[in-house]
Amino acid sequence: MKMKHQQTLIQRLLSPHQFPGGVHPPQHKAESTNVGSVKAKIPARLILPLHQHIGEPAEPIVAIGDKVLKGQRIAKADGYVSAAIHAPSSGTISEISNCPIPHPSGMNAPCIVIETDGEDKWGELNPTQDWKKLDASALRNIIRDAGIVGLGGAGFPSFIKLNPGANKSIDTLILNGVECEPYITCDDIIMRERSGEIMLGITIMRHALNAKECIITVEENKPDAFNAMTIMAKETSDVKVVKVPTIYPHGSEKQLIQALTGKEVPANGLATQIGVVCHNVATAAAVYRAVYQGEPLISRYVTITGSGVAEPRNIRALIGTPMAELIKQCDGNPASLSRVIMGGPMMGYAMQTGQVPVIKTTNCIIACTEEDVVSEPTVMPCIRCGACAEVCPISLLPQQLYWHSKSRDYDKAQEFNLFDCIECGCCSYVCPSQIPLVQYYRHAKGEIWADEREKAHADIARDRHEFRQARIEREEAEKAERHRKKKAALAAAKKKTTEATSDDNKTLIDDAVAKAKAKQLQQGPAADNITNDKIETGDR
């Protein structure tokens, strides 16, 4: 077998802003793109995790026994970074309890379960045809209320990424149709089948962002999708459709931005800082539906593929459908599989059971037999060959990260920028010693977070204590001060002599100093809390 996992020099020279590194794993995309998408059957039970996105879990607004209609909101966003959840079909709420959800830890988490009635009856929808009259914030509200999150896999609430913030202008809106991970083809198919919806969605997004230019990016290996988008884009003359070279991880936001614009998103920073916003193409289609049809996000394109299914294809599945049902619908036998991966083989994670549901971020389900995946490789010691460093898109030194993570020297690991690692898996993919490098990085990150959380708790406790101490002192001081003032006033009243003025002045100054001190004390701990918050939000 000829293995080509890096770019040729010529390819690299031809694309001026190419990001460093990257690999070329076998594509396995043809299998699922031979046929168009089909609509999945409505399952008997829809399982809807409250946490399908980045941010706070949604909060249920229904009770067991309630009848719900399709599209009806069943859980509301809890806070700014959160997303609402809607009933994907009509039926009865049968359970609100912990069920297995797709999560790397394989944990159970709160879900709303709907016993469907098969009627699939819509609730009331509020389409907005003349959305152009709305201002950006009204549009964002519609998108927020429709529960739309990034459908590319990250699941960040989309309305936030349509809000560049006051005083910030967005130069470029990038529509990500790269889909660089092997096996996944749902963006490819949606671009072929729904290019019109995507284009209208883009227009809305652009309106909300007031972006100067707009680029749709499609990887070279999807000529049909590229053509479909190009034809659609012709109508709107200033939307560019760009082909990008097939290399993993080209679809990763930061790498895509670097390849297109030559700009690097600062470490720990956001794309908006360099005037760029990136959305997935499927998200654009969802935005269109939310605005034009008033439909919330209740279904999505999912690729069902892998050697474990006889008819790999894309399915338009209701959110909440158990994965095993979809595998069966593609002629697969869930019991015979060795692994079920949600997402791609490079970054996706394995499900513990087939009962976990499709969620908003489920782009692909790979029903694996032994031939799709590596199991239990013989791990050899690192031979320092540097292959890992050559493919790292972030220009990290994966080998050093590995040494320090393995020996639990986490300070050193952070010195080598452990937290810039995007866990793309390129390093593990090429390592001739077959070391599960990424696993070590995840573990190290987890331990560092745990430590920091502990420390943060300790800090908060200490701050509280100090704050209380300070308050007590301040109160004492104030009491004494009042006492003193009273005395002084009394004395002054008694004396009524001219020499009192200087004394009074001093009192005023003392007063001001005390006040300033008190203020400082109040602000101090508050500022500390912000840093603590930052640590907490890092854990996602």
Binding site: M380, P393, P436
Partner: protein, 342 residues
Amino acid sequence: MEFKTPTSPHIHSGATVSRVMLLVMAATIPGIAVYVSYFGWGVVINILLALVTALACEAGILILRKRPVLPFLYDGSAVVTAVLLALALPPIAPWWIAVLGAAFAIIIAKQLYGGLGYNPFNPAMAGYVMLLVSFPIEMTRWQAPLANTEASLSFIDSWHIIFSGIQANITDAISMATPLDTLKTELRLDQSVEQIITGNPLFSNLAGLGWEWINIAFLIGGLFLIYKRIISWHIPVAVLATVAILSGVFYLIDADTFSSPMIHLLSGATMLGAFFIATDPVSATTSNPARIIYGVGIGVFIYVIRTWGGYPDAVAFSVLLMNMVAPTIDYYVKPRVFGHKQ
């Protein structure tokens, strides 16, 4: 229904240490073939001796260290060490030279440091230098290229020379200094390079007789490794460019006392060293900029030791010297990380 849940990535390129080592071995074949054609079967016998010793030592130590034996023998790193060491030995050296060298390389230079991946020094070169320092006579008595001797050496002849106790008598007839050695000795006698080379059967138009083709064959093997992405171009190019530039500058200054870049590039172990020895991943630097510095360092040492040092060739010393500073170079030369200012 429960599934296994290993973490991502779930696929692998198929690269293995054995595959890397196998390709390295394959790439030495042209060089070995040319070497044999000029110097006879002694080369092959040395390789076999070193191989058997290296594998036996590796297995023995792995058993002592209670490590799995087969995967580590199978990884091929001991094979590569043995072959590289054998290629550096004189083809008429007595048998115990190869055995001793290979044993030292594997036991002391590799396994005592922790085995595969942990040795700071290139084991083959450590073995070679130990031999050179301990047995200077055996290690510097080179055979003349077959073309220069009356005798044609059959496999049996080579076998006899290497294994018979009365080695010295037989070998005197066919032994001769290497071209680099000759240059060094004669230059000390105030001969000019021109005088030494002209008419000397040890030299050809390009460099030392035979050595030029051996070097070219190793160069081809090395290019194959770069093409296969087993090694990156940085170290070999840095080594060769440095040797070429340094020798070029001095050659231009005084062509009588300094030999030409051609002689330096195509003599001794230059190509073998640049493509096969300096690129040993375990003991070299790892990032690309660090690799360039490392390669330049080796190139400088090769030229300096060859020209002014006490030994005619210098690849082994240069590599070992740079092995010592490799971790330091790696520490100071880190690539700029995405999204960070330098």
